[in-house]
Symmetry: C2
Subunit: 385 residues, 2 copies
């Protein structure tokens, strides 16, 4: 089978935000369509970006309509604004929600129709406007990936849209921006990046080019997250940024797995922040996946155990099991929910069956070592309730 490996041009470093103006110019920008969110506005980063664009002689129009779990109608509204204002380049600064909103707008602006028309893999036909993305979290990977996740409000479903043309042209990753993030957001983002790295490594379409990036991301997150949260050390935050970029290179090209499929289904239905799902779901899905590829799960297990000093393992299965246990301990050392019941009201449990049936159809499930059936998903929900 052929494998493809494609990533945007990545500009990484403390202060690299300053390159945004030149990047926009290089993409042919006269009027940038700018997408961001409240938090980034308040932290001053949006204002700084506007200055940088103006200094480069680029004008902009700003679309502020971003929430966590971006919604279909926000995309439609943005696409109208884009068309009305004759913008020519799309630029977003924010977390996964702002970046995915911008990507959704890019699809409709160039391909027309409704965002639902593009759900699944490879359904976007026409090229998108040039895109420069500035991530403000070390997690989502939307600045690098071929993914876009938008919530269909009628079905209460997070749709996975995956297509080569969703890959931005330029990704700017500036670790200085992480300094203004809350502890909770740093942890959630790192958990997301860790899930990306692990699921991409186990993916049925992983390649040697994605695998080394997965392993690098796992190593760096395990080694740096506690320190980054405790001290806000810029060095540790930078290592988390490197990890997130590596994880994104991996999952954008190897795709993800059943854990993300279920996180989308539950998170979409109950409007839960994406990063909160992984500490709950990831270990359980890993246990399910262990049988399908014990050797690869053991590779991950050995890395996860390294942070607790040297472990010894009797065999691959033992390394895999100990790795998953170590991951559970790792997540429980942070102040995050560890059971679904902390995020979902009791009556929500009655809806698990239809939600799990939706998870089966998520494009991420296709590349799980062995795609999950709806009752496999249900077992994960019950186990983690």
């Amino acid at each position: 089978m052929d494998t493809k490996f494609a990533i945007p041009e990545i500009i990484f470093g403390r202060g690299s935000l300053n390159h945004a103006g030149q990047c926009a110019l290089r993409l042919g920008a006269k009027k940038v369509f700018l997408v961001s969110d409240d938090g980034i506005e308040r932290a001053g980063w949006l204002g700084r970006l506007m200055e940088i664009l103006e200094d480069a002689g680029v004008t902009w129009i700003y679309y502020p309509g971003v929430t966590p779990n971006p919604r279909d109608f926000q995309i439609e509204l943005g696409a109208e604004l884009y068309a009305k204002n004759g913008a020519d380049v799309i630029c977003a600064i924010g977390g996964g929600s702002a970046l995915d909103t911008a990507k959704g707008i890019a699809i409709i602006a160039s391909n027309g129709g409704r965002i639902q028309d593009y759900e699944g893999a490879n359904r976007v036909r026409k090229p998108l406007p040039p895109m420069a993305m500035i991530t403000t979290t070390a997690g989502s990977g939307a600045d690098i990936s071929q993914f876009c996740i938008i919530t269909d409000m009628k079905r209460r479903l997070k749709m996975s849209i995956i297509t080569r043309t969703l890959m931005p042209d330029v990704a700017i990753v500036d670790p200085l921006i992480l300094r203004t993030k809350s502890e909770s957001l740093i942890i959630q983002s790192a958990a997301d990046a860790l899930a990306h790295a692990i699921e991409a490594y186990m993916s049925r379409i992983a390649s040697p080019f994605t695998e080394i990036n997965s392993l690098q991301a796992i190593t760096l997150i395990i080694a740096n997250l506690e320190h980054a949260v405790a001290t806000r050390s810029l060095d540790a935050l930078e290592q988390l940024s490197i990890a997130a970029v590596s994880a994104s290179m991996a999952f954008s090209n190897a795709s993800l797995g059943a854990e993300h499929a279920l996180a989308h289904a539950l998170g979409g239905y109950f409007d839960i922040q994406h990063g909160l799902m992984h500490p709950i779901l990831l270990p359980s899905v890993m246990r399910f996946n262990m049988a399908a590829n014990p050797k690869k799960m053991a590779d991950i297990g050995r890395l996860l155990c390294k942070r607790r000093g040297r472990c010894s393992f009797t065999d691959d299965r033992d390394a895999a099991v100990k790795g998953i246990e170590t991951l559970e301990k790792f997540f429980s050392s942070f102040n995050v929910p560890l059971r679904l019941r902390e995020l979902i009201p009791p009556e929500g449990r009655l809806l698990f069956e239809p939600i799990c049936r939706m998870a089966v159809g998520d494009a991420c499930n296709l590349t799980n070592p062995k795609p999950m059936q709806w009752d496999d998903f249900l077992a994960v929900c019950e186990e983690t309730w």
Copy 2:
């Protein structure tokens, strides 16, 4: 310091050559400017590529003027042919020479002037025509890199031209093509890839994104070259291809070092095939570089020693030294020249001083852990004579 990481879209796999037609179409091709060489013609790969393009409805004009160490006048001739024939996409199939010829033509076709005008780093201003590159060796990395090496015939000098726009749009890597390569070419290409990986790892502008690719390339070449040469096993050849791609992702973004600077200077003056230089020069330059970064040279040493089973090391310096010794033994296990006097006539030795003065100015020397002076280069030449 900001770091940039950019690579073409990579399509990797047995039979991936078949994607060439669709790739050309996606780049907007109506008439492809095709570059290749004698060996590829004779092996039938050029004919196959022509068929694939025709099947996709793309016409082509063929420029056959490629030799090892491509010359300035070949570039000028090619650029004239390109302009005359109204070609719109450049596509090369071959080793580093064919690919570099195509890249040189792309520069002149879009920027005018003489190829000498662009020697050094970042001197190409205007965008190049779209480029799809098909490598037929697991070594040069010209299909992925931002580099182009052309010989200035008057100065008998290989010029390093390095610029972001030289990065092709698409790289197609088809390990099936390696089956028709000679033993000698497989070894030379692997030695080149190994030098790329090691020099990029030691480079002053290496990043976490390039370093993991360097280490993967070193590991795979050491593990697979003997077997690939002895058996022509497609699995082993594929591993060498993966190694070459990884090494290229590393050096294209981290650049190279003094070993390549000297290989260009000596190889250009005496018209020696590039891949023959590394078994001779690489260990000697590594010894020089050890002091500047013993920790990183030790990382390489530990990987190089792995093939001989488990070694124990007293410290970083010991690991570095043992690694270099192991590399020398590795090269000497193949049927390749190990001393400069096997490639250069005795009177050539008298010219080492001016040649070493040219090596100082090669753009690759800038990123050596500590740039070499002309007498450092001279010491390497004398040591390896």
